[in-house]
């Protein structure tokens, strides 16, 4: 157990350092999302949409920052580690790959949180968003479980993307846009209709955003997909399912790698 935690700490470390040691990245990571957020805000304003929509945009921006980290910092990470030559040392070490993934996730969450706070503070100040949190504990719980589900999904994809090889990058980019749309980053998912929004719900971002919206902007409840408590339960189930699948795919990836010999060789 203590070995597991040491490995987690070890792998989280470079990300924590990365987040703090390169302040210029922090600036970019905060400003660029804010820029695209303000575009949405102005569109909504010109359409005379309800004011809550501007709040949705900021909440969406924050959660998107995490989602991007899941895609680029988790899902494609093993592929990247193979290219840089670290993966063989991770596999060879007595530490489990699970602990390495957990370290990446925690480090990634930390790094992204430093950006998310920036987006939150600047965004609410710039657009004078009015939030009235009804149940802060539930909100926090949903936020944490939503992150857990998202990063668990990233862990699952990390092995799959490695097996898919070079296509991983393409796949990652493919996941970017449709998911903004499906998860209703900037508008309520319910607008998608019942079937599509159900399908979108296997993406943790969808349920998490929907739940958090209701808790932060009570007047938006009429647009909501379902009750936040129900969403909390679904998110917890998603977390467990994704973690389980992540473990299954890890073993599969390691096995295929050892049998075919394609996973460790850089140019293959």
């Amino acid at each position: 157990m203590i070995e597991f935690l040491r490995a987690v700490k070890g792998r989280a470390y470079p990300r924590v350092i990365g987040a703090l040691r390169e302040p210029s990245w922090m600036l970019w990571d905060t400003f660029l999302p804010l820029l695209s957020l303000s575009a949405y805000v102005f569109v909504y304003r010109s359409l005379h949409a309800p004011r809550e929509f501007e709040g949705f945009v900021i909440l969406g921006g924050i959660m998107t920052a995490y989602w991007l980290n899941v895609l680029w910092g988790m899902a494609s990470q093993f592929y990247w580690e193979k290219e840089t030559g670290n993966l063989q040392y991770y596999i060879m070490a007595p530490a489990s790959l699970e602990s390495i993934l957990a370290g990446m996730a925690l480090g990634g969450m930390f790094g992204t949180t430093t950006r998310a706070i920036g987006i939150l503070l600047l965004g609410t100040w710039l657009f004078k968003v009015d939030m009235s949190v009804t149940n802060p504990y539930l909100l926090l719980l949903i936020f944490v479980i939503c992150l857990a589900a998202m990063y668990a999904m990233g862990m699952m994809f990390s092995s799959l993307f490695l097996l898919w090889g070079r296509e991983a990058w393409v796949t990652s980019s493919l996941f970017e846009e449709p998911i903004y749309f499906l998860s209703g980053q900037n508008f309520p998912v319910k607008a998608l209709g019942p079937y599509l929004s159900m399908a979108a719900s296997i993406i943790p971002l969808t349920l998490g955003l929907d739940a958090m919206r209701q808790l932060i902007f009570p007047s938006s409840i009429k647009f909501a997909l379902m009750d936040p408590y129900l969403e909390l339960i679904f998110l917890s189930i998603l977390t467990i399912v994704y973690l389980f699948l992540a473990k299954v795919f890890l073993r599969k990836m390691e096995n295929i790698g050892k049998t075919k010999g394609t996973i460790l060789t850089r140019w293959l």
Binding site: I2, E3, R6, A7, K9, G10, R11, Y13, P14, I17, G18, R21, E22, T84, G85, N86, Q88, Y89, Y90, I91, M92, A93, P94, A95, I100, G257, K258, T259, K260, G261, L264
Partner: protein
């Protein structure tokens, strides 16, 4: 029990261009405390063998054991007691300092922070890189990077260490430091075992207790360096520099010429001939002059491992 034992090991790879037989019926028994060398040219199968022994790859046929444990089924027992360095390797994160990178890797082996810190300082002293401990990895030179990689592997105090062409592309000085360190490390504890692969014959000759010569996936000779050289003891080698470049395939017809190797040089050739008849040296010299070339250097040398390889395979090591 052997530190490393390999029995009838085969490994094939399926590629787009067909099937590659990277290892063919390899058998090895390496004793605890040995510094064992695997000498062979590029593509001989050295890295493939190391990957199997370090639990990164499964054999197609046959078995491999490290410290008595099967590499295929008991990797959990093997991983804590081994480590590996490979030449030209990149590991770690450019953003971290050397010290931070080393600490990170130590954490995957469950080494307590304080112990890790002490070992890092010790290795930095021994490998002479104390000056770069706080330098970011992305700013290191090739030699500095490789010293860090060596430290990364030795940091976990392995029983068996695999060095896969560890001095590849390094300048003489850094290679010297690394070789000396490996030799001393082995002496400190008589169970420590090293498997070194290389295509530098001098490195194999200087470091290794025993050497296996590997070519096209097969081990074609295995003995101490001195005994291997006895394979060519009746022979000597003749090294020549000639210019301009001429075709010298006629050399094979001279009596006593066994094998020869050429390497192109600036406006000429470097030729290495294994011969068993001193009287024929004159014929070689005459022939070259008759073909219109000049000889700028000629030396009769004691046989080296390269000559052993040349005699066994008909080709050079590099």
């Amino acid at each position: 029990m052997y530190a490393i034992e390999v029995r009838n090991l085969w490994r094939t790879f399926k590629t787009r261009d067909g099937v590659v037989e990277a290892l063919r019926d390899v058998n090895l028994k390496i004793k605890k405390g040995e510094l064992f060398g695997l000498l062979g040219p590029n593509g001989a199968g050295k890295t493939t063998l190391i990957r199997i022994l370090t639990t990164l790859l499964l054999p197609t046929k046959g078995e491999a054991y490290v410290w008595g444990y099967s590499t295929a089924t008991e990797e959990r027992k093997i991983r804590p007691i081994i480590n590996m360095v490979s030449g030209g390797e990149y590991s770690g994160y450019g953003l971290l300092t050397v010290k931070e990178n080393l600490w990170m890797f130590s954490q995957f082996y469950g080494i307590p922070g304080k112990v890790a810190k002490r070992r890092i300082e010790y290795l930095a002293r021994r490998l002479k890189f104390e000056d770069i401990l706080n330098k970011k990895v992305r700013n290191l030179s090739t030699g500095q990077r490789q010293k860090m990689n060596v430290a990364r592997a030795f940091l976990t105090d392995p029983k068996v260490i695999f060095l896969d062409e560890p001095t590849l592309g390094l300048d003489v000085e850094v290679a010297r430091v690394i070789r000396d360190f490996v030799k001393e490390w082995l002496l400190e504890n008589d169970e420590r075992t090293v498997l070194l692969t290389t295509h530098y014959m001098h490195e194999a000759e200087e470091l290794c207790d025993r050497i296996a010569i590997i070519n096209e996936g097969r081990i074609i000779a295995l003995d101490t360096s001195d005994n291997l050289k006895k394979l060519v003891s009746r022979e000597f080698s003749l090294v020549l520099r000639i210019h301009p470049k001429i075709n010298i395939s006629w050399i094979n017809k001279i009596e006593g010429v066994q094998k020869y190797l050429t390497r192109e040089e600036e406006n000429g050739l470097r030729v290495r001939i294994i011969m068993s008849r001193e009287e024929s040296i004159a014929d070689v010299v005459d022939g070259i002059i008759k073909h219109g070339a000049k000889i700028s250097y000629l030396k009769k040398e004691e046989p080296t491992l390269e000559d052993v390889f040349l005699k066994l395979t008909g080709r050079g090591l590099e």
